[in-house]
Amino acid sequence: MKRTHPLEAPTLALALALAALGGASDPAGLVLAYLASWLVIETFARTRWADAVRHAPRPWLGLVALLAALSLARGLGPLAAEEGLVHWPRLIDRGLGPARLDPPFLRADAPQSFVVHAPGAERVTVALGGRRFSATPIGAGALRLDVDPAGLALEGGRTALALTIDERTEEIALEVIAARARPTGLVLSPDRSRACAVSPSTDELLLIDGARTERRVTADRPIACGFAPEGPVVFTEGIAAAQHGTTTALLRRTLGAGLMSELVVRTGGERRLPLPGLADRVALVPSGAAEPERAIVALRAPSRLLVVGLDPLRIEAERPLQAPVSALVVETDRVVLAAPDFAERPAPNLGNHFVDEQLVALSLPALEVLGVRRLAARTAAQDHAGDVDAFAGVSGLSVDAAGRLVVAHGGTRDVAVLARLDAVAERIALRGVDAGGDEHAPESAVVLADGTLVVASPASGALLRVRGGRVAIEALAPDRSALLRDDPEALRERMGELAFGEATRSGIACTSCHPDGGSDFVAHNIGGRMLAPTLDARGLLGTAPYLRDGSYPRIRDLLEVAEDEYRGYRWPAGDRGATIEGYLARTVRPPIVAAPDPALVRQGGELFERAGCAGCHAPPRFTDLGQHAAVALFPRHAFPGRVRVLDTPSLRGLSESPPYLYDGRARTLRDVLTTENTADQHGATAGLSEPELDALVAFLEAIP
């Protein structure tokens, strides 16, 4: 018999050595090294050294190969990332059959929609926390499962969930993310003796004075609070309204098809005003009378400010805005707002991740511009020298007894007090106030009558009181050391949320474009390539790779954008990339409320499969974790020079994320299927009739 050919071992050893010396970082590099090695050996085999090559000492060859292999192994991480192999567990999961449930965790502090993947199933129920939930079939083997954790007996950590598909029950491991207090939305009482805030995650109303906080468990999911003549008022999302008092106005966001919302006002009876976009912030105009006459509503998509008369309910004035409002305070004759960008005449901004954060005073009710203060002005090219140390990332506005503006800056962890819009700011720095090492990001700030500055920091679950230069911290949620001991993942999430809102040296934070992790619905020029609408960053878990071209295999790698494009962060911290990934991996989009005809949706689900959409947008995540050639999908579209590859985006929450396609060129889902798919390569939709297109769109809108 013949052993391994005598030229094979030297070829392999030399190939490994060449690959190690050349720092081969992908399989093609390894193959090239092997080919080069083969050429050398082949050449030598024809010369008078042929025998030396054939009888090269095996132990030495083995040693060379081993050392080279060890050297190459050190670069395995980047190699795996480059080739997409970092997703191998998910690929194997996909190979063995798609996951049953997405996402694989349940937040105990917010309503959540799951997609259950159970092809052919008619009836799917889930037993969780002592209750049973039914899933609604939407077609394509997917079912929608809405879970409101309110009232469920849930503890943090892994739990077993019993999933019953028709008659068969299977257990699925589910991670429950415990609810922790997040004080938010400080509002002063009329006499300024105290303030209120809410903690939506723990269903609490917080009544705060200069020394202590009273915590009251209140109606489900309070979203804001206020003070009526009768006492504190809680605004909730949903039907429940006031815990105290009779006169309330509340914002209830109900989404139908596309981006529509409703303002629900309760003044005795209930009245609804449909709004053209997502309502983001609402504030009542103080009138001195018992019943406010107006409300100011900031819409996120499209960005605009509305003056809404409450009696009768109607829009009195509106003003288009350049970017969504990040904070709002209303006085009797003016409204002051903060936004990452503002222009008297809004126009598309072609700058790269453009941020021109401003405070703007507008008259009431006409919404004329009274004054503007630029907080961290930037050039479009983002090449302004100098770092931002303070006053970036406005998250809250209030007015103190002397009429001064109190501005909470979540991005730079400080509070500014302004006598006038153009006055020099007095700064109260909150970074590093805690000797224990906890970091706090002010979300809102108010000044009580006794001069105490109260600051809410939902990310750290704390209230801060500042008086006479001294800071007292009241922790409403476990502090950093307790989380490190009991729930390190929750600590990672917390640090990630803090890092997500932290301003870079250029003044930009992730939240500048992704408020609350979502989208600002504005198009930005990412990396100088093209103008692309901002993606919603929530619920991203399991949809790698990331960005529209799938150029980032992990979320954490996106920190590179902050480091390279925005000059990094001013203050040292741990691994921001890993913590931001931990934060985003645990975020969920709010459930959409779409109520199309179930039969139509199911017909659309069948068409979704028949048109081949499910081949790439595979349930339950509605993505194949892959990338595709841009010209293969849209051969008739002229792509900008560097756009060659497109990531397969997840279709979850699709109805909330127009415009569509990589550059937002499709305004509606129907456009995606018709005018933007003329080559019929992005799903076989050319042969669909109008009713069939309606059904397919209904299905796409029903994906939670």
């Binding site: 013949k2 050919h5 030229l7 992908d26 059959g97 293969a632």
Partner: protein
């Protein structure tokens, strides 16, 4: 269990797998079907050596010689199927796209990159399998070890392709298994095992 029984069990297992694969690709598009054919034939080429050793162990030396002789033909057919797969893919997915767009897309997408690597290697191996060229090469067998790299790249290509599922996972596992099967008997042989083997040298 006797060598003979193990052998027939393996053959029966392979036949079942082939049947399952035939069912799996029955409804697929022409692009996918041609790709599965190419991958299947590559795996069959890799399986030739272990099969030959198995037949020899079963005492079927004549059959073993046939398998050995068929290997080159199967390999060339795999390369031809790969070429057809490339043609179908370009025709179906890229149509009249500019060559530089196609090249940029292929190089930018991991699963297409793996496929391009596998096809390039197959083309090289097919070319150097032609008798006049093969005869001139001293290190022919060293070059043709790249068939394992080609099969693994093709397996990764299938696994990363959209919604490939279990068959791709099985194909990649088989490629790795056949590579392992190739390494183990070699070691035994070096240790002085009496496993009969037919030369695979030039």
């Amino acid at each position: 269990m006797s060598v003979r029984r193990t052998g027939w069990l393996l053959v029966a297992g392979a036949a079942l797998l082939a049947l399952a694969a035939a069912f799996a690709i029955a409804g697929a598009s022409e692009v996918r079907r041609s790709g599965w054919w190419a991958l299947g034939l590559m795996l069959l080429t890799l399986a030739a050596s272990p099969l030959r050793q198995l037949l020899a162990a079963l005492g079927r030396r004549a059959a073993a010689v046939h398998v050995h002789r068929a290997r080159r033909g199967i390999g060339l057919t795999a390369a031809a199927a790969g070429g057809y797969h490339l043609f179908e893919s370009l025709e179906h997915h890229f149509g009249a796209a500019a060559p530089d767009d196609v090249l940029a897309a292929v190089l930018g997408i991991p699963w297409l990159r793996h496929g391009a690597l596998a096809l390039s290697l197959l083309a090289l191996l097919a070319l150097t399998s032609l008798a006049p060229i093969a005869r001139r090469l001293s290190a022919w067998s060293a070059l043709h070890r790249l068939v394992y790299a080609a099969a693994i790249a093709a397996g990764l290509h299938a696994l990363f392709a959209p919604h490939a599922g279990l068959p791709a996972l099985v194909a990649l596992a088989l490629a790795l298994l056949l590579l392992a099967a190739r390494l183990v008997p070699t070691r035994r042989a070096e240790a002085g095992s009496a496993t009969p083997s037919l030369s695979d040298g030039t």
